[in-house]
């Protein structure tokens, strides 16, 4: 298996052979933590600054020159190993507090030190904001058929008011189309209410939330499941059980549409990290 090679991209667009450090994230300078090996197996060390924070980094020069890709691989095994190494370093730091950096961030050590010195106070504040908090991903789905049946049953009364009066086949056709449109509208409104209800319930327990574009899914049993909510929630570590319990409560209440959810975490707070911190470097 190959490793990762890379090049730094200079501001003028020139490329240079890679040297320097992979940067994983920001932690307390005095964090008492043993980190797993970084990308390419290089040892991870903390590069500190006067503001009391440190960047977790490993030597990028220790990494082999190319990424290889085996037959049928969607993701090169060596890339997988590298991103897993990045993630595992951050997860080890997570209990102590960490501001995650994007994978593949490579800088010269002198630049990193200058960056830390100039941005250290902001990084310390960001670290404090994310300390004792982690990211949880929630993807909630409902069964489309069950939802349609449920809405149809609830709509029965209003639909009966539009029942076809005496008339020809053309009128019956138009009325059927109208009913169909009413049902579709009702389903979409119901879906929006369900998603909103679920989001608000979880948001009450979380410190922050980010919604992502919902993707329709097909479950293993072939049922047509639609994503109601795909979101990341920043949750206090002490509130994790309460957050999980809240999801279960909401699923229970949403039984009529066969609500289901997957919960993954705890993640470093990737979705809740300020993206403008790095620009000032």
């Amino acid at each position: 298996m190959g490793g990762v090679s890379g090049m730094t991209i200079a501001p003028d667009g020139d490329t240079m052979p890679m040297s320097g450090l992979f940067v994983y994230g920001i932690v307390d300078r005095d964090a008492d933590c043993l980190y797993p090996p970084g990308i390419g197996g290089a040892p991870v060390r903390a590069v500190g600054c006067r503001a009391g924070v440190a960047a977790l980094a490993s030597d990028a020069g220790a990494v082999a020159p190319t990424l290889s890709m085996g037959d049928g691989e969607l993701v090169p095994a060596s890339l997988e190993a590298a991103v897993r190494a990045h993630e595992s370093v951050l997860e080890e730091a997570l209990p102590y507090g960490v501001v995650p950096f994007r994978f593949g961030s490579v800088v010269q050590e002198s630049d990193l030190v200058a960056y830390l010195e100039s941005t250290g106070v902001i990084l310390a504040a960001e670290l404090e904001r994310l300390r004792r908090r982690s990211e949880w991903s929630v993807v909630a789905t409902w069964d489309r058929k069950a939802a349609e049946a449920y809405v149809a049953s609830e709509q029965r009364e209003s639909l009966s008011a539009t029942r076809t009066p005496a008339g020809g086949a053309g009128r019956a056709y138009l009325m059927a189309r109208q009913r169909s449109q009413v049902e579709r509208n009702a389903l979409e409104m119901f879906r929006a209410r369900c998603a909103s209800r679920l989001y608000r319930a979880l948001r009450l327990v979380a410190r922050d939330a980010v919604l992502r574009a919902a993707v329709t899914q097909q479950d293993a049993g072939g049922a047509h499941r639609e994503t109601l909510l795909d979101g990341c929630f920043l949750v206090e570590n002490a509130e994790q059980e309460a957050f999980s319990a809240r999801i279960e409560t909401e699923l229970a209440r949403g039984f009529s549409v066969k609500l289901a959810a997957s919960l993954t975490g705890p993640w470093p707070a990737y979705h809740f990290t300020r993206t403008d911190i790095g620009v000032s470097a």
Binding site: V4, L79, P100, R193, Y270
Partner: protein, 140 residues
């Protein structure tokens, strides 16, 4: 289907009582080991520092990673004068496709088309010859 016992139902989809609940909640819990979940985060989120990078992979993989970074941070990158993609022939198709611009995929494609056309010409001439022979054979 269990029956709700409360509330206007479509207005309050969660208006039922928990006592009505008859099935185990469908909550699946997972850790942080799923590769897709990791990639979605580590390639697209987190602090991006100035002088950021590209992880160079072979051919297409290089393009993919570059695009991900580009999509995530194009505005910020421009602010700090990182504009490498504008000179990258894989990502940029400029107006002047002359000698100076190296569009390797285009050249490779052109070569393949030339090759195919040459083969077609040969086949066509073979077919013509065969037809002439057949005509002369039936005529004689």
């Amino acid at each position: 289907m269990p029956q709700y016992s409360g509330g206007p139902r479509l207005d309050d989809p969660w208006g039922g009582q928990l006592d009505d609940y008859e099935q185990a909640p469908m909550l699946s819990r997972g850790g942080t080991s799923n590769l897709a979940d990791i990639l979605e985060r580590v390639l697209d989120k987190g602090v991006v520092i100035a002088g950021d990078i590209c992880v160079s992979l072979v051919d297409v993989e290089l393009l993919t990673i570059k695009l991900r970074l580009l999509i995530a941070s194009v505005d910020k990158a421009r602010e700090i004068a990182i504009n490498w993609w504008e000179d990258d022939p894989w990502l940029t198709r400029g107006e002047g496709d002359g000698e100076g611009s190296s569009h390797q995929p285009d050249r490779a494609l052109s070569r393949r088309i030339d090759k195919i056309e040459t083969i077609l010409d040969r086949l066509s001439s073979h077919l013509d010859q065969a037809g002439e022979l057949r005509q002369s054979g039936s005529g004689g």
